[in-house]
Amino acid sequence: MTAAWTLNGVSARLNGKRALDAADLVAWPGEVVGVVGPNGAGKTSLLRAGLGLLPLTSGEARLSGQRLDQLTAAQRAGLVGYLPQDRRVAWNLPAEVVAGLGAIDLPEVQALILARDRLASVGAGDLATRGVLDMSGGERARVLLARLLCARAPLLVADEPIAGLDPDAQLLTLDLLRAEAARGAAVVVTLHDLSLAARCCDRVIVLDQGRVAAEGVPGVALASDVLARVFKLDGALVESPAGPVLAARRL
């Protein structure tokens, strides 16, 4: 099996400062990988470097085994769908048009049909013809998620997909990404909520100052010593009926 995404010893600079220092990441088909870390740890930079949006100073990135720098824009789009952190939409386009932008390989009519289908699956089917700027932030986030799902790519990368959403929408978003993984896609998400990371991710990568500080199944990657060292938290994941929950206080 070929990994959907491989970052090998990736280093990169952002605004003159070192943002990533020999970071590794592998995402296999069928799994959800969470990237966590304190603010400024390099989570977004790791995603951007691995997608060719941030130039590498060393290391290499591969999508489905192929070197990123040898892919055309269209080939790359066929291998990865990306949901950036910035959810601002410039114009008040109908939701179905925005979602359909995820499927530029299809003729416009088919893209709209796919978009309506994906909007329905994110629970926004009734919003299809509404302008995205007339919606609440949570509704807009669903539309953008539908856009990501329209990409039908073997790798889905989402930067903070649940930031600013209400608890129900957070769980729905992660459930939908899990469903994509169950269908065979590799999913990589950055998250700030460690409880949800532990509950929804198969594997977690903990970043600290541009380096991978811990990696593994949630119980290992988010063990108490990692929480103390990286997050400056005194606590642990405890089991609850709904899944693991972070119980911690500041060190």
Binding site: N92, I104, G131
Partner: protein, 328 residues
């Protein structure tokens, strides 16, 4: 409403406005003279209609269409409803290019004013887009445009200051105020080539403009060849602006207002808005030029003055609305 039907309706409106603009003017004609003009184009009334008024209306259509399309392209490219060749300083630098050519005594050299106006537009357009890539906030770009405009204005003032003769000063001033007076058919023919190339580039960039709705990074990952489409949009908008300035001087706010006249009709789509914006710009300028001609003033009003008088309040209104949506 389908895009084709919208364009057809606007074309009909434009044809109506053009016909009115050709029929009305300072020289009053009787019904018999109108008939004579239609049947004998070489007769004196025919001269008035076909060699004085019609080329002027044609130039207004071309310049207005170019500015409307350039404005819509820039608004899409920069994801900013306040973008416009005038607001962002592209017109000012283009006008500076024309002013330099006139002051340098090149006014008589064929194509010199056109080329320097085009060069100015390309330089300013490139600068605006390079800066826009580094600015996250839409307001910041408008402020940068204010700076470019001010710089262009300062350099133009410097040209005035150092101009060799009052004649050159008057000539530059008349140019900067913008007008389509005294144009003949060759002026339109000369403008149409760069405008057609510019329009083709802008329309080719349409897919990219629509994708940019999602933001810079999402567009780059979308699979579209964004660097190329972006270059088309910049070059197209700059060519259109430069050709418009070369043809009629600096005429502000048409590029800003035209897309907003049709925005609701195309559901805010930055690709579908392109053609209707060009038609709306042409319509605006034909009407504005007719108003300039018919206004009961001793000196004929300059077209650029008329558009600025109406356009500046429109800009204020749009800024007010945009500022509210950016805050929420």
């Amino acid at each position: 409403m389908s895009l084709v039907r919208l364009c057809l309706i606007m074309l009909a409106l434009l044809a109506l406005a053009a016909a009115v603009a050709i029929l009305l003017g300072e020289t009053p004609l009787s019904l018999g003279q109108y008939l004579q003009a239609l049947t004998h184009p070489a007769s004196p009334p025919g001269e008035v209609l076909w060699t004085i008024r019609a080329p002027r209306v044609a130039m207004a259509i071309l310049v207005g269409g170019a500015l409307g399309l350039a404005g819509a392209t820039m608004q899409g490219l920069l994801r900013n409803p306040l973008a416009d060749p005038g607001v962002l300083g592209v017109s000012a630098i283009s006008g500076l290019g024309a002013a330099l050519a006139i002051a340098g005594g090149l006014a008589a050299v064929p194509g010199a004013i056109e080329l320097s106006a085009l060069a100015g537009a390309l330089v300013a357009g490139g600068a605006v887009v390079a800066i826009a890539l580094r600015l996250r906030e839409p307001e910041a770009l408008i402020l940068f445009g204010v700076a470019i405009s001010a710089f262009g204005g300062a350099l133009t003032a410097l040209v005035f200051n150092l101009a060799p003769s009052p004649v050159a000063i008057a000539e530059i001033l008349a140019w900067l105020m913008g007008s389509v007076e005294n144009r003949d058919w060759t002026d339109s023919l000369r403008a149409i080539v760069p405008m057609a190339v510019g329009a083709a580039l802008c329309l080719k960039a349409g897919r990219g403009l629509r994708m940019l709705t999602l933001g810079e990074e999402a567009a780059r990952m979308s699979g579209l060849p964004m660097p190329r489409l972006r270059a088309y949009a910049v070059a197209g908008a700059a060519l259109l602006t430069g050709a418009a300035v070369a043809g009629a001087g600096v005429i502000g706010f048409v590029g800003l207002a035209a897309p907003h006249m049709v925005r609701a009709l195309v559901k805010d789509d930055p690709r579908r808005i392109l053609w209707p914006s060009a038609l709306a710009g042409a319509l605006l300028l034909v009407v504005a030029d007719l108003a300039a001609r018919l206004a009961p003033t001793d000196q004929e009003l300059k077209l650029g003055v008329v558009t600025a008088l109406f356009g500046a309040p429109v800009f204020a209104l749009l800024a007010w609305r945009a500022a509210r949506s950016w805050r929420s």
